[in-house]
Symmetry: C2
Subunit: 467 residues, 2 copies
């Protein structure tokens, strides 16, 4: 059995000028075919890059009648001469010597057609939509962004850690968590008091899907100094919006010996590193997205790398919003939660720059954030990007055991059940800080996608867990 | 507020000779302290590498009485002169000018002590064990291996894809899956027929945690050519062994236009790439593991990179095992499943080499593997490594729709519910292949850890979902 792969040339390598004009073999899927009396022109895409390769097939080819039957989505292999193209819009074309067919895609039944299809329709056929140029480009960008994130942290001696997906700790003390069980729903066991008998479940206690890896990340930081997670996170929120998923991916760095200032710097450095990488490595895919979504995201991306992010305290931000010559839907006062309209006004209209808002009112934020000396604000930060709003939320962590316990109690969190977390402050305690970056929000911002369902291959939302 | 981090030197950088002798500040946790009349010697570890830094504190230091109270686990910051050390076993030492304390670790209550602790005990304090040298080294190796895997695939133009964790498809058609629900267990809704009414659950149908990302990976391959997953996977198997976890991490590449031969090549290339990377980048951490586990895993690692892997068909392997001058617990006959004892005999005693066994009997393997012309075997492969046995399982996929449906039916898999998967063979079908690599198995093999609970920070097993 010979290897197939070793004989194949990637279309990516052709467009990157790594393949000199020569006899090569490519394989891929037909995007379009058009014929003249003497030739057929096939646009072949192999999924390795946004650009297709033009295949020129002479009518004298012995199985030319097969070529004339090729429609969008058919898979073929072509051996031919790679030559400089006289045509516009492409450097090379392939003059076919032999074409063989892998599989047809009957236009009568194949759900993807040459004509423009709506994103709504394509979401219905999520098992096939990665074959379209828009989704292939989005998913390639997603992959490159993920790699850039790993590269950024690895170069800075961060340890990539896998915090648990299954957990008995409710990280945010708020979020709606999915339950995970081995119970037969038809006969959930009960104990003597008539309550659900979790001792008979797989983990012998109520288990759920993580809403964050932060708390375990803090534990790991105390042994490994600088860590980050990169994994799936879950919310059983019944919200059918264009910005919510039940399953999404988060990146959560945590850094020992770091304070809020370090944290802001790290978030800025990470975003700028990723943006520079995408601009350099995903130019063609970005073009596809910009054309499809009709949003010039390059403008926002360049804004992120051209200047340091603006830093503004929550109190200053409230002041700016109150003085703004603008009517907001939600009223602005000290203590109010910043809504998307406020965030976007700050970064898009007022500062016209990526903006970090820090020192939020204590009431608005989670129990683990460091309480400032004013007793009213915590060392929280949100990073707001023009074009999307918040992409990062983080804080310096409360590392004083007494203050932490007090705040947990005030927010009705069981300090005994969470003693493993509290005990960090008892043993070799150090200041530390971290944040969470939502991968899908970042990809939406980069690609200009307006719906979060379009930046993850198989979105999970209320009532939707198909494929 | 000034940044803390920017002023700190990483101990890693000192040992990598990136810091010239000079005045620096470090921060970390005390491993040990011993005193003489005139000096205290503190071994300080900051989690960035296996090696500690020796701090020499003169008794004339103004807060010397504080230094004398330092015990294992205390966190401190030290400013001092980095100088070449006259002592053995270290190139540099730090002469302290100022020492400040972050947090104590009272020896009366701190669960980690200087003396050697058993791995069993440390599993009980999993929230602290990452502060010990063994676990810190294992988790740093795990991080580096993960990065090497991403690097390997990215350099080869693979697209990193996130296949769903929540799913309604039972990938292997076998595994025990965890159920995921939003139901109140006290009142699970029933429909008119008295059955559980899943239309009232979050996803409106029975949802579970993925046992593989392969099927969705195959979908993505048809648009992106070469993809891989890197994510958590779940099994609700009630097995309390040293080799099973309820939550573990898998890497699953899938390649279009690839056959079994390509697949073997890819698995070999991946493992050798990772091994070479670990040998180069994790030497100190590897030493820690080798000393703790008393297994010279370097021997196995070198075996993997020195020669190409042996390839042997299942039928040949059975022949070798039957002729072996050895009594096996499980009898050997054509059609038998290869047990660990058989696998390890093949790679450790017979070939003394990493070994790939391929073309297994159809009955032993999953429905999606390509049926050979003999009608009896499928294009499956398992990669066996000396020291651990199987680390990779994969196959060329069945891409003939009629054969696939026939095999699904024979294995009682609902072809209608899985039509999205079958339909790949109907639209632009191409040969493709892939495999699954268990991250924990790989880390066990590299570090010599004998228990899978020791290579993931927070292991999930029956009855255990703590932290």
């Amino acid at each position: 059995m010979a290897t197939l792969l070793s004989g194949l040339t990637q279309i990516l390598d052709i467009h990157h000028d790594k393949i000199p004009p020569s006899t090569i073999t490519v394989a891929g899927w037909v995007r379009t075919r058009r014929g003249s009396k003497k030739f057929s022109f096939v646009e072949l895409n192999d999924g390795t890059c946004a650009k297709s390769l033009q295949i020129v097939v002479d009518a004298n080819l012995k199985n030319y009648s097969d070529i004339e039957k090729l429609t969008t989505g058919c898979s073929i292999q072509v051996q031919g001469n790679l030559v400089l193209s006289p045509g516009k819009g492409q450097k090379y074309e392939l003059h076919a010597q032999a074409v063989s067919l892998f599989g047809l895609a009957d236009p009568e039944t194949y759900p993807l057609q040459k004509k423009e299809m709506s994103l709504e329709y394509l979401r219905e056929v999520a098992h096939l939509r990665m074959r379209t140029s828009t989704y292939a480009s989005i998913f390639r960008i997603r992959s490159r962004v993920s790699y850039a994130i790993h590269q950024f942290f690895t170069e800075r001696a961060f340890c990539y850690v896998h915090t648990p997906i299954l957990t008995t700790a409710d990280g945010e003390g708020a979020g709606e968590s999915f339950k995970v069980t081995n119970f037969d729903f038809a006969k959930v066991p009960k104990n003597k008091n008539g309550e659900t008998d979790f001792t008979q479940d797989f983990f012998a206690e109520p288990a759920m899907l993580c809403v964050t890896g932060q708390l375990e990340g803090e534990l790991l930081t105390m042994g490994l100094n600088k860590v980050y997670t990169f994994g799936p996170t879950f919310r059983a929120e019944n919200s059918n919006t264009s910005r919510h998923l039940a399953e999404f991916w988060m990146i959560e760095p945590e850094v020992a010996f770091a304070n809020l200032e370090d944290n802001m710097q790290l978030a800025q450095d990470l975003i700028r590193f990723v943006v520079a990488d995408v601009l350099h490595n995903c130019a063609d895919d970005l073009d596809v997205c910009i054309q499809k979504h009709q949003i010039n995201t390059r403008e926002y991306l360049n804004m992120a790398i051209d200047n340091p992010f603006i830093k503004v305290s929550y109190s200053e931000a409230i002041d700016i919003l109150q003085k703004a010559n603008k009517t907001f839907e939600y009223p602005v006062y000290w203590g109010c939660d910043l809504k998307s309209e406020h965030e976007r006004y700050l970064c898009e209209e007022h500062f016209k720059s990526p903006t970090i808002v820090y020192n939020y009112p204590e009431e608005l934020k989670a129990f683990y954030m460091y309480l400032n000396d004013d007793g009213k604000t915590v060392r929280a930060m949100d990073v707001l990007m023009p074009g999307i709003g918040e992409v990062v939320g983080g804080s310096q962590r409360e590392d004083r055991e007494d203050v932490l316990i007090q705040r947990m109690k005030a927010k009705s969190i069981d300090t005994d059940h969470m003693d493993w977390y509290v005990s960090l402050r008892r043993f070799g305690n150090v200041p530390h800080a971290g944040f969470g970056l939502g991968l899908e929000r970042l990809i939406m911002w980069i690609t200009g996608a307006g719906n979060i369902r379009d930046v993850i291959p198989f979105p999970r939302t209320p009532g939707n867990c198909k494929f």
